[in-house]
Structures are given as C-alpha cells and as structure tokens.
C-alpha cells in the first residue's frame, strides 16, 4: 500500500496502528514464498551454467557447454549425438500416449459419475482420492507383481492355455514382433505397453478429479432439449456434450502430460533401458552414478522449458477457441 493510496481513499479496514504489524507480516510472508518457491528454480538455472570438475564436484561458471551437450553432444562439431534429445523425446512419447489414454478412458467414467446421486458420488470420490494419493512406488509394485514373468498375467496366460491358443492361431508372432513375448510365453517386462499402462493408471484418478468440476456443471437441460428434438444419444454426445467440454478435456490432458514428464519409478522398472527418459538421466547425473550436477540441472531446465511451452500452447489454444 503506497502513501498516495492511503491519502486518496478513506481507510476502511481496521484502525491505523495495526498496519505496521500487518505490513511486517506481509513482508515476511512474501520473503518466505520467494525464498522457498522461487530460489530453488533459480538455483537449478544458475547451476546449469556451471562446470563439472573431474574427480571433484562442480564449480560455478557461465558456460553453455551443458546445453551444447544436451542438443548435439560434447564433441560437436566433430561428432554429433542426439542421445539427450532422444531421452527427452522418450519423456514426451510415454507422457503423451499415457495422458491421452487416461483422459479418454476417464471421460465416460466421470460423465457417468456426475449423474449419480450426491451421496453415491461422495463414496466414489473417496475411492478415487484414495487411489490418487497412493504412492507411485506402491502402484509400480502392484503392476510389477501383475506383469512379471513368474507371477501375474504371463503365468495366467500359460496356465489357462491362452499362450498355446495364441501360438496356434498365429498371433503369438505378432506379439513377439511388438516385443510383448519371448519364445516361450508372453512377457510384459520390459515393454512400452507396461510403461504406458502403469503411467496412465497413475494419472487416471487425476483425470477423473480434473474433469469432474466441468462435467458436473454441464447443463443437463441442453442435452435433454436436443433429445426431445429427436437427436440420438450419440448425436447429442457428439454435437452438444463434447463441444462444451472440449476445453477442460484439453486442459486436463495437458496437466497430466506435464505431470507425467517427470515420472521416475515407472520408467526405471518398466521401460527398456534404451528408452529411459530425461527424468532418469537427471537423477543419475545429480544423485546417481554420473555425478554431473550442472548437466543434470541443464536437463532439468530443458524439461521445465518443454513443460512450460506445452502449457503455454495449451493456454493459447484455449484463448483462440474462446475467441473463435
């Protein structure tokens, strides 16, 4: 609050002597928020320009070497490698597929959920929230038991004769081509299928929670009107329901995508080592075997930039959709 303001407008709230305390508190609050919510990001940015010292940790510096390494490799221009871009690419690949899958399967569920009675909705929400908060490590553990070769699905396939059946009708070869089978039986670890399945499972409850407000505000009278005018159920969904939830749908997909960009445990357990993502590389640089904090920081910044660009594009699309 500036002097001009306090002169110009009559003071409505509280007696004047309280103000200094309030101001001190406000300043304190601002300081705390800036120190804890902003400084960590600035540190990552600053360290990404640092330099690793062989046999030691790293030193402050201002070099773009880490970013050069990220895009074209250390030996550029003599040699070019896109290894690190490729890792970021895999981050995108898994996150995009998993988030789309999650939103598409959560949409009908949420739509049905909002049509239940309020009390029934609360019960479902408790269930959804409980599975939402369940740690990634527990979820990976569960799917790991379900998908690993000695227990779970592959064993079920074998014991029920499904494996033999697949072999007999010739689909087994297709599964092998997709990397979902070894010569003896189906296998899901490691595979893209298991990775995407677990990742979309991970964010599925989030998808429901994020779609829930928009869907519960849908005006039922609109689709009822369309129905009375003789439109079929599918036509109503396509021409009335879907257009009115297009924006929340897209927004949800983007949020889930950004969340999934940083998935760590699922990737380390289910993805093939040559498809490991930027998140895994960040960890091994900062805490793991490589011990190259500046390069890890540069990778984290690139991940953050990619996430921000995606969010911003989504925002732009929303604005354009609203305008047009």
């Amino acid at each position: 609050m500036t002097t001009v303001e306090s002169l110009g407008a009559p003071v409505e709230r509280g007696p004047a002597p309280v103000l200094p305390i309030k101001r001190i508190l406000l300043a304190l609050l601002t300081a705390v928020v800036v120190v804890f919510c902003v400084v960590p990001f600035l540190l990552v940015l600053a360290i990404s320009f640092g330099r690793k010292v062989e046999g030691a940790a790293w030193v402050w510096d201002f070099t773009f070497a880490n970013y050069q390494r990220f895009f074209v490799g250390t030996l550029w221009p003599d040699e070019v490698t896109f290894l690190y871009l490729q890792q970021l690419g895999y981050s995108f690949y898994f996150a995009v597929i998993a988030s789309i899958l999650a939103v598409l399967t959560a949409l009908p569920f949420t739509l049905l959920l909002t049509r239940l009675k309020r009390s029934a909705q609360a019960v479902w929400l408790v269930f959804i929230m409980a599975s939402l908060s369940l740690s990634e490590v527990f979820i990976v553990m569960g799917w790991d038991i379900l998908l690993s070769n000695n227990s779970g699905l592959p064993k079920l396939f074998k014991e029920t004769g499904l494996t033999q059946f697949l072999k007999d009708i010739g689909w087994f070869q297709t599964l092998r081509d997709w990397g979902l089978a070894n010569p003896r039986n189906v296998k899901f670890k490691t595979s893209d299928f298991a990775t995407v399945l677990t990742m979309s499972y991970l964010v599925w409850p989030y998808a429901v929670i994020l779609l829930y407000p928009a869907l519960s505000r849908l005006d039922p009278s609109l689709s009822e009107a369309a129905r009375t005018m003789g439109a079929g159920r599918w036509t109503v969904t396509r021409t009335v329901t879907l257009p009115s939830i297009r924006l929340p749908l897209l927004g949800t997909m983007l949020l889930l995508f950004v969340f999934l960009l940083g998935t760590y445990v699922t990737i380390t357990v289910f993805a093939a080592p040559n498809k490991h993502t930027a998140a895994v590389a960040i960890y091994s640089n900062i805490r793991g075997a490589n011990l190259n904090a500046p390069f890890g920081a540069a990778q984290a910044i690139m991940l953050l930039i990619s996430a921000s660009v995606c969010l911003y594009l989504g925002h732009l699309m929303n604005r354009r959709a609203e305008a047009g």
Binding site: R13, G14, L25, L26, L29, T30, V32, V33, F36, C37, V38, P40, F41, V44, I47, T105, P108, F109, L112, K117, R118, Q121, A122, V123, L125, V126, F127, M129, A130, S131, S133, L134, S135, E136, V137, F138, V140, M141, G142, I145, S151, G152, P213, S216, R233, V258, F259, L261, G262, Y264, V265, V269, A279, I282, Y283, I286, R287, A293, A300, L304
Partner: protein, 265 residues
Amino acid sequence: MRLIGQIYMTLSAIVLALPIMVVCGAALNSGRSMFFPPREPTLARFGEFFISEPVWTAALWNSVIVASGAATLAVLMAWPIAYLLWSTGSPLSKVLAGLGSLPFAVPPIVIGVGLGFFWVFTGGLGEVWAGVISHAILLMALPLVTISVGLQSIDRSHLDAAATMGATEEVAFRTVVLPQTLPYTISGFFFVLVLSFNEFIVIFFVSASSYATVTLQIFNSLRNGYTPTMAVAAITFLTVSILVFSAVARWGDLPRLMGADQSRK
C-alpha cells in the same frame, strides 16, 4: 445404455483396484517372498512392519514426522495467502498465490532437483526438518485451494451483520470466518498429510539417502525383490487415505471441494 454405463463403471473400479488388491493379498504371505494368491496366510508381517523390524519402524516414524509437520506448515503458510487473496484481491496476493502453487505445477522432479540444491547451500540436505519444509512447499497449493473455496463459501451478509453489530475485523474473523472455514482448513491439512505420506521423488532428492521414509524404503527394497512386509506398508497407507478422505467426505463436503455444481443435489 444404462447397463453399459454400469458395466463401464464397474470395470473401471476393478482395474483401479486390481494392483492394490494384489499388493494387499501379498501381505498375507508367511514366507519371505511374494506370492499371489498368498501361501499360508499369516498376519506376522504386520508385527514386523509396526513393531519388530527397525528399518520399517524408523521409516514409518520418519514418514509420520514429515507428513504431519509438512501438513501443519503448509496450512500455516497457505492461510494468510488465501485470506489476503480473498479479503483484498490485491496484485501482491495474486502473485503470492501463483508463486505458492508453482512447485506443485511443474514436473515434480524439477522442484525435487531445485530443493536438493537449495538444501545443499543451506545445510539442510539429508535432514528430516528439510524434508518437512520441502513437502510443505511442494503441497502448499492444496490447502491454498481448499481454504480459498471455504472463504468463498462465506456469506458476505454474515460479515456485514457482524460489522453492523459493532464487531471489529478481528472479532468478525474469529467468530465468522474461522468457524466457517474450519472444515476446509482441515481438509487441506489432510490432503497434504496423505500426499506427503505417499510422495516419492522430492523426498528422494532432499533426503540424500541419509534417512528413509516408507516410500523411500520401499523403493530401496525394490532392487532386492519384494518382501511381504512392503505390502503391509501399502495396506497401511491405503487405510490411512481411505479413513482421511471418508472423514473429509463425512464432515466436509467432498463433492464441493472437488468443484461440483452446488445447485444440483
């Protein structure tokens, strides 16, 4: 059509419950390795997790400290920001709310890396109190949202009535604002509690392997293969989550907190 809907919801629930059921079933194994369905079911693993195995009891204790500390701290930081935003709507309050939600909005690994560096310079790396603060920072966005929802639900006419009857801002705050927002504050507290319990990646970076919470301990044990004791941890956490959210649904208004339309019952 109705039937298809019910089948779809049931199917979703089954898939959602499947890995959880498997983990829970595996906890009953008597041997050292995990089988599903369990062999020679026993409850001995529960004893190991809560009482006899120091690795797990220490991890559980750390989890409890970090989660309850972070929940308290997050609510204490979120309250003034939410209140400022609601009562003044000033640009500063909007900036504060935006910055406060930032750690929750970026991919978790980035804020994990950032806080990891932060604690290296401030001497908190590998300390439990740094873990508490880190989780409070990460999850502050949740009470910020629930408290804001609560404040918006206050009928302004109550405040006007209080003012007309001569209540100062402070008295009105104590007698109108606080009681009406209490359920939302508690909901925010519990959301942080549960998510902090289950959070992995940020605590992974800031603990620097010098202490372990339950999720960290489980990740560490993943490499040595599963033991049924890990499944007990999963059951415990799931029970806590269900109890907490049931309580929020019972005493708070879960559909409203999740943003349901108020006019329809």
